[in-house]
Amino acid sequence: MKSQSRSTLIRSLSLHAVLIPLALVWLFPLWMMFVFATMPDYGIFSPQIELLPSTHFIENVSNLQADTDFIRALIISIGVAITYTVLSVLLTSMAGWALARYSFVGKSLVIAIILGTITLPYFVVVIPQFIMVAREFKMANTWIALIVPPLFNSLGVLFMRQAFSMMPVELFDAARVEGVKEWQIFLRIALPLARPTMAALAIILFLASWNNYLWPLLINSRPGMMTAPVALGTLIGLTKVSWGGIMAGAVLLTAPILVIFILLQRHFIAGIAAGAVK
């Protein structure tokens, strides 16, 4: 018995001996982001090794604000991400519900399309999509162009479909017997039951929209409408730019989502892991 606990101790020690350095390496870029954001530019570009934060965060934020209107970009990003998330959860839930609970002509075709688009690189679509939205629909620099095209989301539909098909069928049949309308069954019974799944999906979608770079970069050419990642991206490579400011922007971009991650870790992990559970 004694040797067993000793071998457990050794195993535990070696486990942590591997994991602690690995975790430190993994945290290092995040830590440096935070450190850079608090440093003046002469500190970032100094010959010494600087690993501890300084006191210039507020100054860097105001430098950033002078380089680009970042507060406005953040507000736009929040608005876009929330709108996108709400609409996308609703649309994918409806589609997932239809595919999980009804049999209808064309169902297998729809499923084939959804599966097909998962393997299709987004780049196949992006150029004609851009030309079409901008030139044919004349919708460049509109919120609709920013939010609507990315609403087509295959993984979300499969995720919701999975959740709905696992619910006991008796639940819905009982309601039907009582003459409840289909959309009411969906809204009043199915959706509330799917709440954990929707929460997980919502976080993933919010994250995707929050960090989306290519589409907003292309479709929004008006500086006043830039989302936060695009606004920050324009600063990288400029000459007279405050790197401390860029780092402060990176922190402002990352911190909220990290807080969400910490608070809602369970849903978050469920959302990502869902990709694997078929």
Partner: protein, 286 residues
């Protein structure tokens, strides 16, 4: 029954409408554009202008080669690392589990632009913390942005940092879904943990790991933001130009939409090919 099922169309309509409006036409249009010479006004049908050029263009082969290097080096390294992380995180002996999970999973939520900026600063030639640390242990500074191999290494490091945690989450979920009694018999038979891992855990995880491989391959094929922002548009001199960036350059810098579409379809074909290959590997196991 028929009447009830008709409701399905109502539920599907908005979703399919967006698909029809913003996706179907682009997919078809992209295909047609790839057969047109879009360098001249107006465009004319000329299949050789793009498809003929593609297979003789050294820049295409360069981008393909770079993408393949990332596929062959980065994906296995990352998946191995993610598996190790997942197994270690799953250990019942682990203390401060939440902290470790935070360390490995946090990069997943960091935006590409934010992390690109940090990596650019960290790997700066004269003032970057990485070169300073290398110098302090007696290694000469590495020119991360000007040397093609170093730039490729930097790209691989960056992408691995960002995406390993994502795969760890998926693999960890897979590990946790393996019922404990599978191991019980083995433990009673005094089979070592390592052998348990190789002969029990890995085979059970195989489908999930293959799934991660496919996701990572599709992701690597489309790699764009990192070489765009970290290594300066695929620099040095195309040394880290991926297929995604090559397409962007042809489409949005040289404005050759037809050529860009041909590249896009080649990428799609490659992605489908690799996915099929994976299905075949997965099936072979059973």
């Amino acid at each position: 029954m028929q009447l009830r099922n008709r409701a399905a169309y109502g539920f599907l309509a908005p979703y399919l409408l967006i698909f029809a409006a913003f996706w179907i036409w682009p997919i078809i249009s992209s295909f047609m554009m790839s057969f047109q010479n879009t360098r001249i006004n107006p465009w004319v049908f000329s299949p050789g202008a793009n498809w003929g050029r593609l297979f003789t263009d050294p820049a295409f082969y360069n981008a393909l080669k770079n993408t393949m290097i990332i596929l062959v080096i980065q994906v296995p390294v990352m998946i191995t690392l993610a598996t190790v992380m997942a197994v270690l995180l799953n250990s019942p002996l682990l203390k401060a589990r939440g902290l470790f999970r935070f360390a490995f999973f946090a990069p997943v939520v960091v935006g590409e632009v934010a992390y690109a900026a940090v990596f650019r600063l960290m790997f700066n030639l004269d003032f970057g913390i990485i070169n300073k640390l290398l110098n302090s242990v007696g290694i000469a500074s590495i020119s991360w942005f000007s040397d093609a191999s170093a730039a490729m290494a930097l790209l691989i490091i960056a992408v691995t940092w960002r995406w390993a945690g994502y795969n760890t989450i998926i693999i960890l979920a897979g590990l946790q879904s393996i019922p404990g009694d599978v191991y019980e018999a083995a433990t009673l038979d005094r089979v070592s943990k390592l052998r348990q891992f190789i002969y029990i855990t890995l085979p059970l995880l195989k489908p999930i790991i293959l799934f991660c491989v496919v996701l990572s391959i599709i992701g690597s094929m489309q790699l764009f933001t990192e070489p765009m922002l970290i290594t300066n548009r695929g620099g040095p001199g195309g040394g880290t130009e991926t297929l995604g960036l090559f397409l962007y350059r042809q489409g949005f810098t040289s404005l050759n939409f037809g050529y860009a579409s041909a590249i896009a379809y080649t990428m799609a074909a490659l992605a489908i090919l690799i996915s099929l290959l994976n299905l075949w590997v997965g099936r072979d196991a059973k």
